[in-house]
């Protein structure tokens, strides 16, 4: 029974994705919606992403330094470990989990409130494809999500450099040497491929939970929580699958 319920959700999710692209909204209206979503989802997220990235980068650097107790291990490994952690996992995956909470609950609650207050019914009755109107602009806006993750990578490494150098754990030259050591450009591509996938999940899974929710204000809150949980689960699973496919 539970399996059947999950399969029903998965099936309905993919049908929703198909419906998003049917009967597009007039471009003059859609353009405004896209800019609004860029502001709400991307620009409004920059502050928290910058703050978290910078300090977590610093912590990664300090933690690495504190664990390098063997004097034979070169100090440039602090920079190396910070770069690898930030670029490969922290920026693309863990920022996406945080965004599942921040952006995801915003998307679910805003669409869910529209459902509860009959605004989605109003769109449908007017002849508007409500899924295209509500979900498509979010998907387009999140094309800019790799830009957010790029900033996160930069600030994470900058935070690591500041934590390492100003904390007295390494020198600037050693840290920069570590950043450059065994640099594989494909890792950046891998991180951005993951990011594009996560952006799609971040736009669509919370939208699904908001769009198909039933009930009142309490259920909007519940839907936001469920949406966060499922977005996180799918992000982690797809992270595993993509890593297996791209790096293994």
């Amino acid at each position: 029974m539970i399996l059947l319920r999950y399969l029903t959700h998965i099936g309905r999710y993919f049908l929703m994705i198909r419906e998003v692209f049917v009967k597009p909204t007039k471009w003059s209206v859609m353009r405004g919606l896209i800019f609004k979503e860029i502001d709400d989802l991307v620009i409004d997220s920059l502050g928290i992403v910058c703050f978290i990235s910078f300090f977590v980068g610093g912590v990664v650097s300090i933690q690495t330094a504190l664990n390098l107790t063997n004097p034979l291990i070169p100090k440039y490994l602090i920079g190396f470990a910070t770069r690898q952690s930030v670029i490969l996992e922290f920026a693309p995956t863990f920022i996406s989990i945080i965004m599942a909470g921040k952006m995801g609950s915003f998307i679910t609650s805003s669409i869910g409130t529209m459902r509860v207050t009959e605004q989605i019914d109003a769109l449908e009755v007017m002849g508007v494809n409500s899924l295209n109107y509500l979900v498509f602009p979010k998907m387009v806006a999140l094309i800019l999500y790799p830009f957010v993750i790029g900033i996160s990578m930069f600030l994470g490494i900058l935070g690591g450099w500041m934590g390492g150098v100003y904390g007295g754990f390494t020198t600037s030259a050693q840290f920069i040497q570590g950043i450059q050591t065994e640099f594989i450009p494909f890792h950046i591509a891998y991180a951005f491929i993951k990011t594009i996938m996560f952006a799609f999940l971040l736009a669509t899974i919370p939208s699904y939970h908001g769009y198909y929710m039933k009930g009142g204000a309490l259920e909007v809150g519940k839907a936001s929580t469920v949406s966060f949980v499922w977005t996180s689960v799918v992000v982690i699973l797809s992270n595993y699958i993509l890593t297996q496919l791209l790096l293994a």
């Binding site: 049917v22 009967k23 909204t25 007039k26 003059s28 209206v29 609004k36 409130t113 529209m114 207050t117 009959e118 605004q119 019914d121 109003a122 449908e124 009755v125 007017m126 002849g127 508007v128 494809n129």
Partner: protein, 255 residues
Amino acid sequence: MIEVRNVEKSFGTAKVLKGITTTFDTGKTNLIIGQSGSGKTVLLKSLLGIHTPDSGIISFDGRVLSQMDSDERRELRTEIGMVFQGSALFDSMTVEENVAFPLKMFTQKTPAEIKERVDFVIDRVNLVNAHHKKPSELSGGMQKRVAIARAIVNNPRYLFCDEPNSGLDPKTSIVIDNLIHEITVEYNITTVINTHDMNSVMEIGDKIVFLKEGILAWEGTKKDIFKTDNEAVTDFVYSSNLFKKIRKSQNKEDI
């Protein structure tokens, strides 16, 4: 004219509409009345195409709803104006933007033409100094006026209202009722209102359809409703003390 023929609708094992047959005439205010759970909202949502009837036919001036593909349905919906029970105004938009929405979506009008039309309908529903306010800044009555303005801005052929008086004081209810009636006559549209407010019935009910437990128990005009001996209707109508008094005074006059 909207024709409903033998429409049935069930949810699971519960049969909500049991073979409804009626017509809603153009230029008339048609009221669907009945107690809560009688199937009024399901009938209204079936007319709007939000619910698909299990059987039966709904046609809009000869165009059968069930025979339309999704594009034709969307086309039909551009001819429909709907006033929702909770107004369903878009929170993120101002009054002006809410009213302009159908024009921006479905017409090729220039911004100046849209502004002119929006100003006209906002004036028509007697909204003053509300153009740039958000729905949350408006009273319930004002929200209903905005919803009516949005519903009529694109010159609909059909206007549907779900409990337009719910949450409004009696005076504002009468104003909203009369506004809907005036617009119906003025623009010669087919209006269908879902209500359980007997005051609305007396104010604007050109045709009344009474539902009881999913069955069309009675239909007629507002004059007929006080003369009928249909027990289901009299039970519903005279559940209000006010109407009991009207009934008594009418009986005295007859004697």
